[in-house]
Symmetry: C2
Subunit: 145 residues, 2 copies
Amino acid sequence: MMISTKGRYALRILLDIASAVPTTEYISLGDVALRQEISMKYLEAIVATLSRGGLVESKRGKAGGYRLARPAETITVADVICSAEGGISPVACPECDGQSCSRAGNCLTVDLWRQLDTMIERYLTAVTLQDLLDSRDLSVLFQNI
Amino acid sequence: MMISTKGRYALRILLDIASAVPTTEYISLGDVALRQEISMKYLEAIVATLSRGGLVESKRGKAGGYRLARPAETITVADVICSAEGGISPVACPECDGQSCSRAGNCLTVDLWRQLDTMIERYLTAVTLQDLLDSRDLSVLFQNI
DNA sequence: CACTTATCCTATTATGTCAATAGGAATTTA
DNA sequence: TAAATTCCTATTGACATAATAGGATAAGTG
């Protein structure tokens, strides 16, 4: 789980779309496919989930396409990954939720994974699409978390 | 990739072994299996990689088993995950290494994933088996990174 | 020397998710 | 009507993970 091709592609796709000069313009997946060298069909599948997640708006038919549903400053990388992959947590931790946690030995690790989750989520929430578009130095954000 | 069952189990196994009262004692996988409720055979597979990674020492035959190869203070969670899963990076990033990075659009994301890797690795390197055994408050370590 | 308890070694299977593709239906514009 | 595009449902292939199986080797014990 965590960050697979789907998530990485989703981010690239959104950055591509967000680069449109009037941000109100609709970008077709055909154009994105050419620029990003990802197959149309796969793009469709990924964008569908982004659309369901409310990150992009679509317009069908000729001269249709996709555009961001919100300003790039308000869309975080966490939003993108969550939407594309249905979650961020790097640890699918069955021990955490429920009964099996009764064993004392396990619970030594629960806090570790929780803390890790928190950390990753904070970081990815701190970075927006606009930050990436501006090629901002992320190590600054990294310090401030 | 990232942290799968194998990695989580590996950590639990090592903590179990590390809990032995004289730390020089050899703990059999049979005992670990009972306490951790993991099948012997699966344990064997996981411990084999930990052994190859130099984290545990074994003793064969009757009254044999496993013990830590180094003090628990010197074994980090990063060591364990690396050994069990062959790496930590949550992003298998083919864009990062090599030719396809020529496209400018992609490179907006490379720094993000690098930074994330660094962050996770630092955190998991900051936590040792002993920290977990002591049930130390990890949020303190978390702040100091 | 047997016997028992272990680790070790090499396969194999089953499951599931990911990555990618395929074909066509619905919609909008010109 | 025609072209371009999003939408919808299904399917496939490949691969990694999770787990199991059977036996070989080693070491202690009576």
